[in-house]
Amino acid sequence: MTADRKLRLLVGKVGLDGHDRGAKIIARAFRDAGFEVIYTGLHQTPEMVVATAIQEDVDAVSLSILSGAHNYLFPRVIELLRERGAPDIAVFGGGIIPEEDVPGLKAAGVLEIFTPGTSTEDVIAWVRAHVAPRALG
């Protein structure tokens, strides 16, 4: 696999949160930016998201969470990726996430958190700078 292949990104909605406006916008923006996008659809458990991420060989998982459950769901997804032997899949995300929760999420291994008002172009630029194609074995 060459390093200049297209990035494969999973866009996920975890938990019971049905607010999928942001997830769908970002999935479309990623697709229009030339990335390969897998959108999980709604109401996924962390286990389901991680299983999809591994099965689809994605380079990064981006989660959209507007339910207030981010402090549980992000660390849980990272923990499961590690358990399943895929700690190199980057995890980032966005949603209604208070600023003061961001340092804790980053300490848990979340690469970046995008809060409301971020432009899709900024997120895409960040992805290009920080997510690299994984070396697949």
């Binding site: 938990g15 019971l16 949160d17 999928d20 406006r21 109401h43 458990t45 208070p98 008002g117 899709t120």
Partner: protein
């Protein structure tokens, strides 16, 4: 044209002459700003509206009528806010039932006149707090309700015959409504004295909010059972609040919000009639719920058009005889999706404009969002400012002094007509597909909304639509604010309380109730009486909802990007 701006002596002021002389000269000297003059939903807006824009058969009698008369464009009451102000109804719910009960009492003490309950996500999805999918979400976005015990605490000390209560719940709406009835029984309040609103609008869940249990068709059966039960037993209750709010929040345009919501309303009326109900027996208890977004005149026009379309639909399409069936009553909430996390105090200004539009659009009740809601659930201070905003509009601004102050404005009437035409065109397309359920099954409204929301986001990203504090006038560190945090202790305490209820109740009796409910689902008997028995015996939201799954099945969305 003379230099002092007066038409030359002897010239009759006409639009053509104005354009040729006054306007052309002005544009030569200083052109208009280089922006697109469009609404937030991208409807083009002209430089000037005159009586010419209302020509072509526009008749005041037909289009406007008088307040309290068909087609209700100017309002459903002859005196509107001179008679009675709108109900100030702030949506509240967080943490445990006791926390929310305290917020309710606080709001009632501060002059609020109706209650509005927000449930947490597990409750909205018909899941108990101890379900695996509920982890981390208990009490976060609303109050956690598992069994009747939680509802008893939620309404403790609040006499249900003296408040009107709105409950924002859909997929398990019937279960939660039965819990409310059971609380009333325990307070000794007859069902006939209960007033309030159940959101109970499952169609917009498939379209926008995405909290469902069963597929659309069996869900409609539960709704018609509830309509039939309430027509008999709880006559003052609004059985469905047909909601455009969430459709708009999901990113629709104003026209889509209006069209899809009315198409949902049409589907409920058709379902009620197919279930053998007389349209005038249930239609007066249908109410609507709209969003009020940033574009002031677009929102006012949308609300006025909504009343006019519904009056015609009910009278002409469904042959309703009672004016109560023709009148569209609605609640309005300011647009949560318009609030910014950046410079959050700016949201007070947005909410004021949006609330003013709702009032000038003739709303019956109003929720004003709190300025901190792009960051978290609102603090008490933020909720108070939001309520005070309504009070300032009601008691200081003067807009309540006359009925429909904007009626007859060339611009507002032209925009009302335009939005009406565009919404009717959408409704015609949905009719051609076989109605809203069929349209949902093929993903039509979902796709239209996703397209509109992406289009808007692109416009914001390119700076074609302004958001003050975000893509215009932004500053660093603009989001410092004390916010409400929901303690994770809430989840732990709720799990203990639920476990205690499960131990204490009569499990064998509940099992018989649940079996009877399932048989009713199979036989077609009205589901509400057996459901009420399940609730009285402390069956949980999830147990009761799941009892119907073997008969009704579950829904899975085919995701459209």
């Amino acid at each position: 044209m003379s230099a002092n701006g007066k038409p030359p002596a002897g010239r009759k002021p006409t639009r053509q002459a104005w354009e040729r002389e006054t306007l052309a000269e002005s544009l030569r000297k200083s052109p208009e700003r280089d922006v697109a003059f469009t609404t937030v939903s991208d409807l083009p807006i002209e430089r000037l509206y005159t009586s010419d824009d209302l020509a072509g058969g526009w008749s005041e009698g037909e289009k406007l009528g008088y307040p309290g008369e068909f087609p209700y464009t100017r309002g459903i009451h002859p005196t509107m806010y001179r008679g009675r102000l709108w109900t100030m109804r702030q949506f509240a719910g967080f943490g445990s039932a006791a926390d929310t009960n305290a917020r309710f009492r606080y709001l009632l003490e501060h002059g609020q006149t109706g209650l509005s309950t927000a449930f947490d996500l597990p409750t909205l999805m018909g899941r108990d707090s101890d379900d695996a999918l509920a982890r981390g979400e208990v009490g976060k976005e609303g109050v956690a309700v598992d069994t009747l015990e939680d509802m008893e605490i939620l309404f403790s000390g609040i006499p249900l015959d003296r408040v009107s209560t709105s409950m924002t719940i859909n997929a398990p709406a019937a279960v939660v409504f039965c819990m409310y009835l059971a609380v009333a029984e325990r307070q000794g309040v007859p069902f006939a004295k209960l007033s309030g609103t159940l959101q109970n609008d499952i169609l917009k869940e498939y379209i926008a909010q995405k909290e469902w249990i069963y597929p659309p068709r069996p869900s409609m059966r539960i709704i018609t059972d509830l309509m039939a039960f309430c027509a008999r037993e709880v006559p003052l209750w609004n059985t469905i609040s047909i909601s455009g709010y969430h459709i708009r929040e999901a990113g629709s345009t104003a026209v889509q919000e209006l069209a899809f919501t009315l198409a949902d309303g049409i589907a409920y009326v058709e379902a009620g009639r197919a279930a053998g109900l007389d349209v005038d027996a249930f239609a007066p208890r249908l109410s609507y719920f709209f969003n009020s977004h940033n574009d002031f005149f677009e929102e006012i026009a949308k609300l006025r058009a909504a009343r006019r379309i519904w009056a015609h639909v009910m009278r002409d399409r469904f042959g309703a005889k009672s004016p109560r069936s023709w009148m569209m009553r609605f609640h309005t909430q300011t647009a949560g999706c318009s609030l910014t996390a950046q410079q959050p105090l700016n949201n007070v200004a947005r909410v004021t404009i949006q609330a003013m539009a709702a009032v000038l659009g003739g709303t019956q009740s109003l929720h004003t969002d709190s300025f901190d809601e792009a960051l978290a659930l609102p603090t008490e201070q933020a909720v108070t400012v939001a309520l005070r905003t309504q009070q300032v509009i009601a008691e200081e601004s003067g807009v309540t002094n006359t009925v429909d102050p904007l009626g007859g404005s060339y611009f507002v009437e032209a925009l009302t007509d335009k939005i009406e035409r565009d919404a009717l065109a959408y409704i015609a397309r949905i009719d051609e597909m076989g109605g809203m359920i069929a349209a949902i099954e093929r993903g039509f409204p979902q796709k239209e909304i996703a397209d509109a929301s992406y289009h808007y986001q692109r416009q914001v990203d390119r700076g074609e639509k302004s958001i003050v504090g975000v893509n215009k006038h932004a500053v660093e560190n603009g989001r410092r604010l004390d916010i409400l945090k929901i303690d994770d202790e809430v989840e732990r305490a709720q799990l203990l309380r639920l476990a205690a209820v499960r131990t204490r109740r009569d499990g064998a009796k509940l099992a018989r109730d649940l079996a009877r409910l399932r048989r009713a689902a199979e036989s077609g008997e009205n589901l509400i009486p057996p459901m009420l028995d399940c609730v009285r015996d402390y069956g949980s939201v999830q147990e009761i909802s799941q009892a119907l799954v073997p008969v009704f099945g579950t829904y899975r969305e085919v995701s459209v990007l």
